[in-house]
């Protein structure tokens, strides 16, 4: 590594000198910050996935003794290797929190927005490199706090990732609602601050720093997705922050925003006049847009990768932008579909059913546009392309069951069962994860100047794809059988005894799928040092990032920033002999624009 540092500093001594600290730690270079986000996200991802493997084992073989439980959870939470019921809930809670916020929000959006926004719009860096650095380090701090909450005596937060009060407010109700919950709230408050700084930076950069010729309708769909995602984040994350602050007030200063009329552990508490339903509204006002904050960047990445690897323009570029905007708008007015049976007025339920099912329309447009892009293409089935196709597949499978959950009448019976778990894992968990993997395989050469091993990539994709369906397809059935989620075990209900074999199958797939992520981890970390050297534009792509040199430099381009003359999807344009025409290639004499 030191050789690399030396080479690098030597290369542009005309620039200011980088020390190790300013280059690798407190860097203000968006490319380095992207890598920092990615590696932190991967580390958090390992923790999150490991947790899911542990609680899946408990679900398949309830209350059986496993040495690994004892090793990882300790004597208090896994005496004799049997997982305790409160740590089960803690694992479920922290798994959800980590995967939703730390991996699929920060790890996905943070990585690729940072890497691609300046490079694809032709900017030297983010609008504020300093703010960008602060954003990453706050995210890092919140990750550390979240992980440290795993080690407090009474255990980490265990009220579910939705942390509904009063359960999350009262340590008498569950031990995890003591210090563990305090750390959770502090961590999330810092996380939100980090996310807001990032989002504001992305918005300002996209609006102000586009290179000459890069009109909004020449932006790659990745940038559209990141831009709109940042806007949704700025609108909705502050609401979660306020909810978290009010909850902190209720917990620590005796206010009653969310609590009222509580009798617990033999005494009446003083709270009066608050409402847990208010918290649900505030939480889901972020919570629902949050799933689009997760999935939109994945869809943007997929749009780019499918077009490049199909050697075809993305079908319906403008329709794709319109559908991103429509999804973003609708996403802020559908939160109530998480609350059909929360006790809110049923009339509101009707309104939210209506707005929710409307989202299916722009989503369908996206799915069909992807399919049409594949049609009559010349598909280069690189690992990134496989993950993108996989995303289209799981996005459809998972999205379709949303028609059931979004319909208040049908939601009555599947609400909070494993059916919901299957639905959202496919449509935003697995799909977004695929988007993230696709992005990593595709832009790895841009990030590290080396290539990932494609064969390991293929193995990684196929095992993951089979396991993802293997885990979540059977899960729909146990949900439809009425099995509630967040049950430590269902052995107390003989009614559910016939679901146990299905649970064993699900866990088997989960363990295989989880272990095979090692293939990816190995590929990722070893290729940083030993991967094949990348050429400048390995995928023969049109977007501007591939016009920048492989070796990272401050300011991205050694000379002038390239000027843009065309949209990013001139693949197989009949007016040209080669099957790709980068955005910085001027229009030929008499060349017509062949798209709307």
């Amino acid at each position: 590594m030191s050789a690399e540092v030396h080479e690098h500093t030597h290369e542009h001594e005309h620039h200011h000198k980088d020390t190790f600290i300013t280059k690798y730690i407190f860097s203000i270079d968006h490319k380095m910050i992207a890598k920092q986000y990615l590696i932190t996200g991967i580390v958090m991802g390992v923790v999150g996935v490991l947790m899911s493997m542990l609680f899946r084992m408990q679900l398949a073989w309830p209350e059986e003794s496993f040495k690994i439980f004892n090793v990882l959870l300790g004597d208090k939470f896994a005496p004799n290797g049997v997982m305790a019921n409160d740590i089960y809930l803690a694992l479920v809670t922290i798994h959800g929190t980590i995967m939703v916020f730390f991996v699929l929000t920060a790890g996905l959006s943070g990585t690729f927005s940072n890497l691609l926004i300046p490079l694809q719009i032709g900017a030297r860096d983010m609008a504020s490199g300093f703010l960008n650095m602060i954003s990453y380090w706050l995210f890092f701090l919140s990750s550390v706090i979240m992980l440290s909450s795993l080690f407090v005596e009474a255990g980490p937060a265990s009220a579910g990732w939705t942390i509904y009060p009063p359960l999350s407010a009262l340590p008498q109700a569950i031990p995890g609602s003591g210090t563990g919950m305090t750390l959770w709230l502090v961590s999330m408050a810092i996380f939100i601050a980090a996310s807001l700084m990032g989002s504001l930076n992305y918005i300002v950069t996209v609006i102000n720093l586009r290179t000459k010729g890069m009109s909004m309708t020449r932006l790659p769909l990745t940038i559209w997705a990141f831009f709109v995602t940042a806007i949704i984040g700025v609108i909705s994350f502050p609401v979660l922050l306020s909810a978290a602050l009010l909850l902190i007030f209720d917990r620590s200063f005796g206010t009653s925003f969310f609590l009222s009329d509580i009798y617990i552990a033999g005494e009446v508490l003083h709270y009066q006049g608050g409402s847990p339903v208010l918290f649900e509204h505030l939480f889901w006002f972020l919570g629902h847009p949050e799933v689009y904050i997760i999935i939109l960047p994945a869809l943007g990445i997929t749009s780019e990768i499918i077009a490049t690897n199909s050697r075809k323009p993305i079908f319906g570029y403008r329709a794709m932008i319109m559908s991103i905007l429509a999804i973003a708008f609708l996403s802020t007015i559908v939160w109530g579909h998480h609350m059909f049976i929360s006790g809110m007025n049923p009339f509101l339920g009707s309104v939210f059913t209506f707005t929710t099912l409307l989202i299916a329309i722009p989503s369908a447009v996206k799915a069909f546009n992807y399919i049409t892009t594949l049609w009559k293409g010349n598909l280069q089935l690189n690992p990134a392309m496989l993950f993108s196709i996989g995303l289209v597949s799981t996005f459809i499978t998972g999205g379709l069951t949303g028609i059931i959950l979004g319909d208040s009448t049908l939601d009555i019976n599947v609400h909070d069962t494993y059916f919901v778990v299957a639905h959202f894992h496919l449509v935003m968990g697995i799909s977004a994860l695929y988007g993230m993997f696709a992005g990593i395989y595709h832009w790895y050469p841009k990030m590290f100047g080396r290539m990932l091993n494609k064969n390991l990539g293929y193995v990684h994709f196929w095992v993951t794809a089979v396991c993802a369906y293997g885990v979540f397809f059977p899960m729909h059935f146990i949900g439809l059988a009425g099995l509630p989620r967040r049950y430590y075990t269902n052995t107390n209900f003989p009614l559910f005894d016939d679901l146990q074999n299905v649970n064993v199958l699900i866990t088997t797939f989960a363990l295989i799928g989880g272990v095979f992520q090692l293939v990816f981890l190995y590929n990722f970390f070893s290729s940083i040092f030993y991967g094949k050297k990348a050429v400048q534009n390995p995928w023969k792509s049109n977007t501007l990032e591939w016009t920048a040199p492989v070796e990272h430099i401050h300011g991205n381009w050694p000379g002038e920033i390239p000027e843009v003359h065309r949209w990013p999807y001139d693949y197989s344009n009949p007016a040209h002999d080669v099957d790709f025409v980068p955005q910085n290639v001027p229009m030929k004499e008499g060349e017509e624009v062949l798209h709307h």
Binding site: W61, I68, N85, Y164, P166, L170, I174, L259, D261, I262, Y263, V268, P276, R311, G316, Y317, A319, I341, G343, T353, L357, T372, L374, W375, G377, N378, L379, Q380, N382, I389, I396, T397, I403, I404, S408, T409, L410, I412, N413, H415, D416, M451, N455, L456, W462, A465, A481, Y487, N490, F493, D498, I512, V515, L518, G531, P538, Y571, P574, L594, H596
Partner: protein
């Protein structure tokens, strides 16, 4: 321990795979810069795998429907449940059609159009006609679904005030359900957690005239053919009253009263005798017997054979023992229900019995009970 072995095998497997890919790499001619970019042979293999994956999805789905289809909730036990299941079936039909068609398109195209050097893709950038088709069709279909859904929703959720119903309170507390019957007046007495004391665990206001005939029980009985109007409370955290067989669910929120109403259409006995349920119970008991053999071999007690009962489950995470918060629900004929209820003492009577002076208690204890006694009597007198 088996699981560790399994993991070990998997790790070894992945190492083996890695070795294989290394060998594969070495056999590739030269060390060109694009060696990690898909070539024609990769496209070919991956294209066929895409086709294979389509087969996998289809076979797995059909296998699942046959093998796990029978596990899902069957005949609804409530009147509105039929509407819910109708809508559900229509939605399922739609989902299966769309899923079957789109998955074929995604994977078949990935196979059919796998890349080959020298091929050129079709430049096909947009078509307003197509966009209108695939935003229009979902819009129309969804409009129909929303229409039916909202019609059913309003029907289920809004209880007509003139309708004759039986009022029952469901009361949730950490890991336990109780039910309060409104008695002859069919009006529940007022209640607040601040009034919880001794056997009055629901905090019923004993001075309220409507509370005088209220009855509190820990097993829910409801009559067939009558609409039951549940008023739902919680004393500590959020819970959710979930009756899967009746297609009914509503959260229990501390500080407010939520409601849900349904009409049972089968008694417990009738539901048990339905052919699908006989089959299901037989299947469950076979599994339990096998498990019992294992347990006995280990020197533990065998499992009891299972008979079906309707259940009320908690379906909102409520604490460490959330997984064991349940109440048996019995649907009786109206006659049996009346008889069952008439045997139960009212809460007021229970409080009286509990507060009757107990000679065995010590001086101090007796004093405090007496104090409470007088308070209770004073409250009673106030009505």
């Amino acid at each position: 321990m088996e699981i560790l072995l399994v993991i070990l095998v998997l790790v070894l497997l992945s190492i083996a795979l890695w070795q294989l890919t290394k060998i594969f790499d070495l056999t590739q001619v030269g060390d060109s810069d694009d060696s990690q970019v898909a070539n024609d042979s990769d496209n070919n293999i991956q294209g066929y795998l895409m086709f294979g994956f389509l087969a996998f999805i289809y076979i797995f789905s059909i296998y699942g429907l046959i093998k796990w289809g029978p596990l899902v909730l069957h005949t609804p036990a409530s009147k509105h449940g039929e509407t819910v299941d109708n809508l559900m079936n229509i939605t399922w039909l739609l989902i299966f059609i769309v899923q079957a068609v789109t998955q074929v398109l995604v994977h078949y195209f990935s196979f059919k159009y796998r890349g080959k050097k020298g091929n050129k893709a079709l430049f096909f950038a947009d078509s307003n006609k197509l966009e209108v088709i695939w935003s229009g069709i979902p819009a129309v279909v969804l409009a129909l679904l929303i229409g039916y859904g909202l019609y059913a929703w309003v029907d289920i959720m809004f209880v007509d005030e003139n309708e004759e119903t039986i009022e029952i309170e469901l009361y949730a507390q950490q890991f336990k359900w109780s039910a309060r019957y409104s008695g002859a007046d069919n009006v529940l007495g007022k209640a607040n957690v601040r009034l919880i004391e001794g056997v009055n665990t629901l905090g019923v206001d004993l001075s309220d005239p409507n509370a005088q005939d209220d009855i509190v029980v820990s097993e829910l009985h409801i009559p067939k053919g009558k609409k039951i109007h549940f008023k739902i409370r919680s004393q500590d955290v959020l819970h959710s009253a979930f009756f899967p067989h009746f297609r009914a669910q509503m959260n229990c929120v501390p500080g407010m009263v939520t409601e849900f109403a349904f009409e049972p259409v089968y008694t417990s006995d009738e539901y048990r005798a339905l052919p699908f349920m006989v089959e299901k119970v037989k299947n469950i008991n076979a599994l339990r017997e096998a498990k019992s053999k294992e347990l006995v071999a280990k020197g533990q007690a065998p499992l009891d054979p299972y008979t079906f009962d309707f259940l009320l489950l908690c379906n909102k995470i409520c604490g460490a023992s959330h997984y064991n918060m349940q109440m048996k629900v019995v649907v009786d004929t109206p006659e049996d229900f009346k008889k069952w209820l008439s045997d139960k003492p009212s809460l007021v009577q229970e409080v009286k019995t509990a507060n009757a002076p107990k000679p065995v208690e010590g001086e101090v204890g007796a004093d405090s009970t007496k104090a409470k006694d007088t308070a209770a009597i004073a409250k009673m007198a106030m009505k």
